[in-house]
Symmetry: C2
Subunit: 341 residues, 2 copies
């Protein structure tokens, strides 16, 4: 993990400083909405006091900056785009948490539980505006306006995809049958689109060729897809001690994750369980997992992770990344896809 660690040590403080710069309130701005933003980002507690604690991993901007360096430019060129993708990610989390009524994120109370859903919706909207503005604010005065325009429109193409994925995700909750294909389409919007853009926009900022940009896009897309399915697997079969989450929470919440959808398509007895029990207690959850194991839903999901991982690596190779940053991206893939939590 040598290259990646070196990069993380160098890049994460820069990413964090850029995010803070974009989210700095102008003089005269009311303090509270910015405090909500800073709270969500993990910088302050609900009273506005600085904290050090668990935050998002800032993986998307790290990918952006690494893709830029791997495309032969200094990461500075990609800093505006890196801040934008991270803020877009956080805009979507703010609204997701309201929509899912999630109580905690990174072990802290979610923004809406403190200030109410209405203010959290507004804080998300504010984060969206600032994500777009990050492209302008963090770019140097002399930046080519064509590059600014290209980046900001790409960010909004991506948001459109995010809302498509989120729409499907919410629509699936009330549907009886969802196919594996539909699920993959949903996560391609909800997860794949932003990781795709995170890598592509780094290459764009570096001025890479259309072909190289497309390879980074595919690299990021496949990485996001593999990551999400891996997440689905860890939820059900991961070690609670390592993940830090309640085991099989997706099953308790009857979430239509990939292994479950595959299982439902394969197993009549699993379909019967979902039909007969409107609420799952521990006994039903064990039953569900047993049925999933019978049809080897884990194996099926792992195979998909494997397939997306191969694509990820293939596109990275095809992009002919510069040595060190390319190595760091390779290590990042390994870290994300071999994780136990």
């Amino acid at each position: 993990m040598g290259y990646l660690e070196t990069y993380f040590d160098r890049l994460l403080p820069i990413i964090e400083a850029d995010l803070r710069s974009v989210l700095t309130p102008p003089e005269e701005a009311p303090a509270l909405p910015y405090r909500m933003l800073h709270y969500h980002m993990g910088w302050v507690d609900a009273h506005g006091n600085p904290i050090e604690g668990k935050r998002g991993k800032r993986l998307r901007p790290a990918i952006t900056l690494l893709a830029c360096e791997a495309s032969g430019s200094h990461y500075d060129a990609a800093r505006p785009a890196g801040a934008a993708v991270e803020l877009i990610h956080n805009f979507s989390l703010l609204h997701d948490d309201v929509q899912d009524q999630s109580q905690t994120r990174h072990g802290r109370a979610t923004t809406w539980t403190i200030w109410g859903a209405n203010q959290a919706i507004n804080t998300g909207d504010m984060m969206y505006a600032l994500a777009n503005l990050a492209i302008r604010r963090l770019s140097g005065q002399g930046t080519d306006p064509a590059l600014l325009a290209r980046q900001v429109f790409l960010v909004n193409d991506t948001c459109l995809e995010l809302t498509r994925g989120q729409h499907l995700d919410m629509a699936f909750e009330t549907r009886d049958e969802v196919s594996v294909e539909e699920y993959l389409d949903m996560i391609s919007g909800k997860t794949g689109a932003l990781t795709a853009t995170s890598a592509q926009i780094g290459a764009i900022a570096a001025g890479a060729s259309a072909e190289v940009c497309e390879h980074y896009r595919q690299f990021g897309f496949n990485l996001g897809m593999a990551f999400q399915i891996q997440d689905d697997i860890l939820d059900i079969w991961g070690d609670e001690q390592q993940t830090g989450k309640q085991a099989a929470i997706d099953i308790y919440q009857r979430k239509k994750s990939l292994p479950v959808l595959y299982g439902l398509a394969q197993s009549e007895s699993l379909r019967a369980l979902y039909r007969d029990y409107p609420v799952f207690a521990a006994a039903e959850v064990s039953q569900v997992i047993m049925r999933l194991d019978e049809v080897d839903a884990r194996g099926y999901a792992r195979e998909l992770v494997q397939r997306y991982t191969s694509q990820t690596l293939e596109h990275l190779r095809a992009a002919k990344p510069a040595e060190e940053a390319g190595q760091a991206l390779l290590e990042l893939v390994g870290m994300l896809l071999n994780r136990q939590k």
Copy 2:
């Protein structure tokens, strides 16, 4: 009203066609989220069947196109920006309706009452993305990227202001005391910012000088402020028959509108009413209006409308608008600020 009518006849179908073009679903897109957008825009019913009925007045894009013509260019140059400001307006309405739990808009059930708050939040996010993308999609291939970038960032500066205003509006609900100054600051974000941009961006699209663009900005800002305060007056003293709304609904809902805030600052007996009655019935509403009349809150609000109107007209004059479009803008001001509904 000759010039304005002529312009409306010419421009409104073009504005509507541009909005429809931006909101056309791409092939393969799930149909439902676009149906929600079209429903909100007043184009279809909840089943997706086309309807003709009451819609938004598309005033903001009309101002954009007129400001462009008044600045000496054909309105075509401002069509992307016009669509963007109207979609931004509608994005904010979608979220407002969720936040305020408003049941109806233009006499139709609001989007969230049909598809739920979660989907309506997502539809608003989608509208925001499409508003940004309108700038690119409706601009010709050869458009100067610097102009694209300038417009899209201005739109997002404006959204930041919208969220500031919305934050304050919601925060005021739970506060005991709000000053008239704070109220004006709130509506400058919630209303003035977008009408300011609607006019300014039309002049920008026309390639007007910085000075002229600033006059249009001030024109739009003051117009929005006057319009909003006029709205507050009509709510309390307007003719129910003409406004089509329940009279004094702001008072029933204890909304801190400008006349109420002025009255509260002036009248101890009004403060006592708000203190002593947590819920207002018809008798209390009559009492409130009587107290407002005692301190001539209507006169105070009218004076403010007058002041903002003078500023509006002054900046329009200073912008030296081209004859016909300038005349149409003048008629628009008259129509909006002398309305009885």
